[in-house]
Amino acid sequence: MSKFTIDRRGLIKSTAAIGAGLAMPHVFTRNANAFTNEPTGSTVTLGFNVPQSGPYADEGLEQLRAYQLAVEHLNGEGDGGMLNTFSSKALSGNGILGKKVQYVTGDTQTKTDAARASARSMIEKDGVVMITGGSSSGPAVAVQALCQEAGVIFMAGLTHANDTTGKDRKANGFRHFFNSYMSGAALAPVLKNAYGADRNAYYITADYNWGYTTEQAIREATEAVGWNTVETVLTPLTATDFSSYIAPVLNSDADVLVLVHYGGNMVNSLTNAVQFGLRERQKNGKQFEIVVPLYSELMAKGAGANMKGIFGSQNWDWKLENVFGEKYSGTNAFVRSYGEKYGVPPGQAAHTGYVQALLYADAVERAGSFNPCAVVEALEDFEFDGLGNGPTLYRGADHQCFKDVVVVKGKENPENEFDLVEIVEMTPTEQVTYDPDHPQFAGGELGSCNAGA
């Protein structure tokens, strides 16, 4: 039997060898495989995935311009925009964590499969660490799920369906934009005041995720103030002529038409509704009215005079700071940057995209890491101000931002081509806040963050 002996020098050597051995995997993998697409050089790549064709192409182009502006500001170019007004001072115009920001773009075509394909390409081929964009809830929800699987952050762009932070919520996904519930909660009291509590509403709804939740939200909110729903009809997202759907409204008992359409679809359906004389119509002893729950200046421009006097809701408006003062600071700084670069005021799609890019960069700076789980931690329950919407909370429970909601209507006598929307009311945050498990949002779990590789 051999005798095991060890001296002091041997003990030190063995300890050092075992320690080095145990540390080895960490040394080799810490930078290379700690999380998906960890930036290793002097640059970091972001993915801007927006519709550049299809019915929401206008919004996509606007959003893309804003993302490009955000990259300029993050890299210290231009006038800095809302970096100057943002309550967090972590961003200094030196890129993100000292790495210069670069980007790749994709065309979602307003289609779920195309959006996922371009997002996958960005993750696998371009090595993006964050994807942002959307401009349509179907693709946004699909890309959010993909980002969760792949282990990158998704900062949603224009997605208004409840499901994005409801039943389809994901730990790696965050939404700055408001949602269908908030539109209903903000609009219903205004509609009651304007048109009375005794109204019969007919819904023409886009046949996809956003249409369903928005119709439900507006229906429940208006029924709560006394309105009656007489009919709900779904229309394909690809439809361009809505006359077959508008004509039956004339023979119904409705005195209000709610067009749950957005972008190019809304421009066409509203134009068709006006062509059929609905705006001049009297029904049940009342003036016939049209409501467009989700509004934008771009749509107002596309629909022209047809939008005059029509109520809707917005996430943000470029006139907010001029009308309501400092509470909405950041608005004018962004309008100046964007307006001088592109010659037109930014719309809400541009604003929410720009803000999402800044919020991501800021979270990385505050976390000191691009690791998605560190970013999630930095964003959850983060309170900020100075980004145009007033004091805002990124709620940790569902990754939804809570802020005031803008109720608008088409301006009757615009002074110029940009003066198309009149702000009717700023609905306070408390009025549009709900519990994370509210029935319209129930059924989803955030799960835990995924850092990928």
Partner: protein, 342 residues
């Protein structure tokens, strides 16, 4: 009853677009034997003729008005169209507002040129090739034309309104004894239907009552015999291709105010129009027109909530269902000649 009349009107309107495109497709198939998948692109080109003319008429020179400011607080740049300067503000504005009807005159030479260029430059090399080759090359051509339009005009729909005098709607119900407001129909859609009827009637009259048309019809029936008589039938067929292009183009011009033109609109109509041609009967001009209106009306009825609530989504497939039934029971189509598609 009022709902039914309204949907018939609506269907006639949709059917007008289908019929006009299908008529052109049939003219080309009947004369040249070519299945022209680029025909929808000609419809789209017509709509963009209206867009182009409205933009040309709106070309302006810029002046700075120091008394007013833009959204950034800078002095306002005011655009004044040259047309308003030349003809005065009122007449100039009226000319701009009537750009769509004027677009008809603008589009005719452009569509003739486009049709001739398409036929002489590419399609004639595929006359003796299989239909599959013709479909591939014309489909490719359609995509090329689409992408060219997308490059110059962007991907977004471009609002192209009708003249203000023709905006609004007619209380059609009052004219036929219904209460006021029960059957209202937009003026421009009625104008579109009347325009389509005149255009279709014009094409038929041209083929029926002119010597040129008679020769073309003879050539459609027996190309070789007409050729043996010393008539240059190829030249006439080329002219028919240009006429078909003009028909599709004018259908597009007048459609522009109904739904804002976009680069993809030709493809949206093309597939449906081919179904119309097949249902009507390949090579049958009357069949194309009849099927266009019948399917347009069917589609409208299928979109009524009373129907979609019973069979959801029927509005999106009704035309294809009808096509399947027709092809199974009568492969030559409603008015097709025996032997074609059988």
């Amino acid at each position: 009853m009022d709902a039914i009349i309204l949907q018939i009107l609506n269907g006639l309107d949709k059917g007008s677009a289908y019929a006009l495109i299908a008529l052109g497709l049939t003219l080309i198939f009947g004369t040249l034997g070519v299945v022209n998948f680029a025909h929808g692109a000609l419809f789209m080109l017509g709509a963009f003729c209206a867009v182009t003319l409205s933009r040309l008429l709106a070309i302006s020179h810029e002046t700075v008005d120091p008394t007013r400011t833009d959204f950034l607080g800078n002095p306002l740049k005011v655009q004044t169209p040259y047309v308003e300067e030349w003809f005065g503000p009122e007449i100039g504005q009226t000319i701009i507002e009537w750009s769509v009807p004027l677009g008809i005159l603008f589009a005719i030479p452009i569509m003739i040129a486009a049709g001739l260029a398409m036929e002489r430059g590419l399609i004639r090399y595929f006359y003796k090739r299989p239909h599959a080759d013709q479909i591939l090359v014309t489909f490719g051509l359609a995509i090329v034309l689409q992408e060219i339009v997308k490059y110059f005009f962007g991907a977004n729909p471009i609002p192209t309104p009708a003249p203000p005098a023709l905006v609004g709607s007619l209380d059609f119900g009052v004219l036929i004894g219904f209460d006021a407001g029960q059957i209202i129909y937009p003026y421009w859609r009625l104008i579109y239907f009347i325009f389509a009827a005149i255009l279709i009637g014009g094409v038929f009259a041209f083929l029926q009552f002119t010597t040129f048309g008679m020769v073309v019809r003879a050539g459609m029936a027996d190309r070789e015999t007409v050729g043996l008589l010393g008539i240059n039938i190829d030249k006439r067929f080329t002219i028919m291709f240009a006429i078909a292009a003009v028909v599709a183009g004018l259908a597009g011009v007048m459609y522009a105010p109904i739904n804002s033109p976009n680069y993809h609109m030709g493809m949206d109509f093309l597939v449906l129009s081919f179904v119309v041609v097949v249902v009507g009967g390949m090579g049958s001009l009357g069949g194309a027109v009849l099927a266009g209106f019948v399917l347009g009306i069917l589609e409208s009825f299928a979109s009524m909530p009373q129907v979609t609530s019973v069979i959801p989504g029927i509005n999106q497939i009704v035309i294809y269902l009808v096509a399947i039934i027709i092809l199974l029971t009568r492969p030559r189509g409603l008015l097709g000649r025996k032997g074609v598609m059988e």
